[in-house]
């Protein structure tokens, strides 16, 4: 860390003399690195969503009976819903700590656009809390007897759908950060926004499962993701400004 | 009249629908009135307390 600061200092002297501001890429990398260090320090917490997903997945066969065909038929949708539910608790605390300790005030005055920092935070959040869920998908798929040919489609779907959900969740999390309590409120706010995502994701998975074309819903998801990458950070930044105002 | 009330056999669907409509809108209409009454009552209490407080300090000032 010290050496980074040292090496940064080198460029900054030049920056200062010419009046050039700290660059955006460097800021994003610094934020990513910080969030990774923080996640690593709390790595125990990162396992909780995984554990949750495994437990819930394991409950389904008990509740529905071990009929492999039944499980195979519902596996895709069930796993999708489990991933969405497992993502929820972490979404709530996306900005809360930073608001409470004053870090957001520092974000607000940083030379970089607030939306860029918010987008970087979304990326860090997705990589640390959601990616592990996607990585264990083959295991969960096996528990649910998911047909092997569906697994790649499921994973691609999740790779498109979960960033979208995290982007939407970031806006809501920023909105709720200034509030007294959130918890169930975040789920209530997320539901309407998540409906289209879940519909298209489930459509792609169902298509793959029944041998029908699944490219169209994936394309819609991808288009929505591109749109959200542009718009959601802006909304998130506006929400963070409201949260910091007091 | 009874024929009309029967709604061609659909009375158990039609009239509850109208009842829901009226009940929900009645709630919507009267809820703010109740809230308003609570607000004015609280405010009146606050103003009364303020007045007694001011009267007391004025008396205290007069006596010193």
């Amino acid at each position: 860390m010290d050496s980074t600061a040292q090496s940064m200092t080198g460029d900054r002297i030049a920056c200062r003399a010419t009046g050039v501001r700290a660059n955006a890429a460097g800021a994003c990398i610094a934020l990513l690195r910080r969030d990774f260090v923080l996640a690593w320090r709390r790595r125990g917490e990162l396992f909780l969503p995984l554990l949750y997903a495994v437990i819930v997945t394991a409950l389904f066969p008990f509740a529905l009976g071990p009929d492999p065909e039944l499980l195979a038929r519902i596996a895709g949708g069930v796993l999708l819903v489990i991933v969405v539910l497992a993502m929820l608790p972490a979404l709530e605390s996306m900005f809360r700590a930073d608001l409470d300790d004053g870090t957001l005030e520092q974000w607000l005055l940083a030379p970089q656009p607030l939306a860029l920092l918010a987008l970087t935070r979304v990326i860090a959040h997705w990589l640390t809390t959601v990616l592990p869920l996607i990585i264990v998908m083959p295991l969960l798929g096996a528990l649910m007897n998911l047909p092997v040919k569906v697994l790649p489609v499921l994973i691609v779907t999740l790779l498109l759908a979960t960033p979208l959900l995290v982007l939407l969740g970031a806006v809501l999390s920023a909105l709720a950060a200034g509030a007294r309590r959130s918890g169930i409120l975040l789920a209530l706010m997320l539901l309407p926004l998540a409906v289209p995502v879940v519909i298209f994701a489930a459509g792609a998975i169902a298509g793959a499962q029944s041998g029908m074309p699944y490219i169209a819903p994936l394309t819609w998801l991808a288009a929505a993701l591109v749109m959200a990458i542009v718009l959601a950070p802006l909304a998130c930044a506006a929400a963070l400004r409201i949260a910091v105002e007091s | 009249m009874a024929h009309w009330l029967a709604m061609g056999g659909y009375a158990i669907y039609v009239w509850p629908a109208y009842a829901v409509f009226l009940a929900v809108l009645a709630w919507d209409w009267f809820a703010p009135a109740l809230r308003r009454r609570r607000i004015t009552r609280e405010l009146r209490g606050r103003l009364a307390r303020e007045r007694t407080r001011n009267a007391r300090t004025e008396r205290a000032e007069a006596s010193t």
Binding site: L172, L175, A176, G178, A179, R180, R181, L185, L188, M189, L191, P192, L193, V195, P196, I199, F200, A202, G203, W220, A224, A235, A238, A239, I242, A243, E245, S246 | W4, M7, G8, Y10, Y13, V14, P16, A17, Y18, V20, F21, V24, L25, W27, D28, W29, A31, P32, A33, R35, R36, I39, T40, E42, L43, R44, L47, E50, R51, N54, T57, E61
Partner: protein
């Protein structure tokens, strides 16, 4: 803030005491008109209009169901516009109106769902179906509840109003997407779709159409009367420290000065 380029009357009306008085005068008239037109509309719909040749008398739910559905969307749009004004210009009145729209909008959305369910049971044989329109309406109800919940979760009501306004704006981008996606989803799972007798079909006969339109007028008038009353109450609680509220509440001039310390 720079509100000076707004028309003069808007500026005047934006002042809470002015709005309070103006709304107080207008409200009874609007409500009287709403009740009168509702009486005409209901008489036309429940008495004059003939039974439907397919649905018998069950279709008479249309006279409240469809106006409520229209209102649920109209109020959402109103809320979003007021929310936008609240966010951009920070007009207090716009914040109040945006937030007071939400309960009434939720009420109409709930009515739409409940009456739709009561209509659906005899027509489709089921209380609920995941039809595109019903599902969108349900999502709309959740949007309203989210706005109400977010607004109330804030200690500072004005900040809560602005946060909830932003949520309302996000929701208005979301609504068409929801509607489209639900339609797509519904055609995908064709088995669950029930033959929906389109209630707003344009081929509706004139004796049925005019009561429907009069009822739509009545609900709009009701909404305007209701939002004026709600906004009055909202302003009263938000401005409770102000002189005009104090004079209004107890008729006597309030103490001009805090107790000297």
């Amino acid at each position: 803030m720079s509100r000076s380029y707004l028309p003069h009357w808007m500026h005047w009306l934006g002042s809470p005491p002015n709005f309070y008085r103006f709304a107080g005068t207008l409200r009874p008239w609007l409500m009287a008109l709403a009740l009168a037109s509702a009486a005409i509309g209901l008489y036309g719909g429940l008495v004059l209009a003939p039974p439907d040749y397919q649905q018998g008398d069950a279709y008479r739910i249309i006279f409240i169901h469809v106006p409520s559905a229209w209102m649920s969307l109209f109020i959402y749009a109103t809320m979003a516009v007021a929310g936008l004004i609240a966010l951009v210009w920070r007009v207090k009145l716009a914040e109040v109106i945006a937030m007071e729209c939400a309960p009434t909008g939720a009420a109409f959305t709930f009515i739409t769902l409940a009456t739709g369910s009561l209509w659906g049971k005899p027509m489709w044989g089921t209380w609920w179906t995941w039809d595109a329109r019903l599902t969108s309406e349900l999502v709309l109800l959740f949007l309203y509840l989210g706005v109400i919940g977010l607004c109330n979760a804030f200690e500072d009501r004005r900040r809560g109003a602005r946060a909830a306004s932003l949520l309302a704006l996000v929701g208005i981008v979301n609504l068409p997407i929801v509607h489209y996606s639900v339609q797509w989803w519904n055609t995908l799972h064709q088995g669950t779709t029930v033959d929906f007798l389109d209630p707003a079909r344009s081929s509706i006969a004139a004796p049925m159409l005019w009561p429907l339109l009069v009822m739509a007028l009545a609900t709009h008038l009701y909404f305007f009367a209701s939002i004026l009353g709600r906004a009055r109450t909202g302003l009263l609680s938000l401005e409770s420290g102000k002189q005009w509220v104090r004079t209004l509440v107890d008729g006597q001039p309030a103490p001009t000065m805090e107790a000297p310390t």
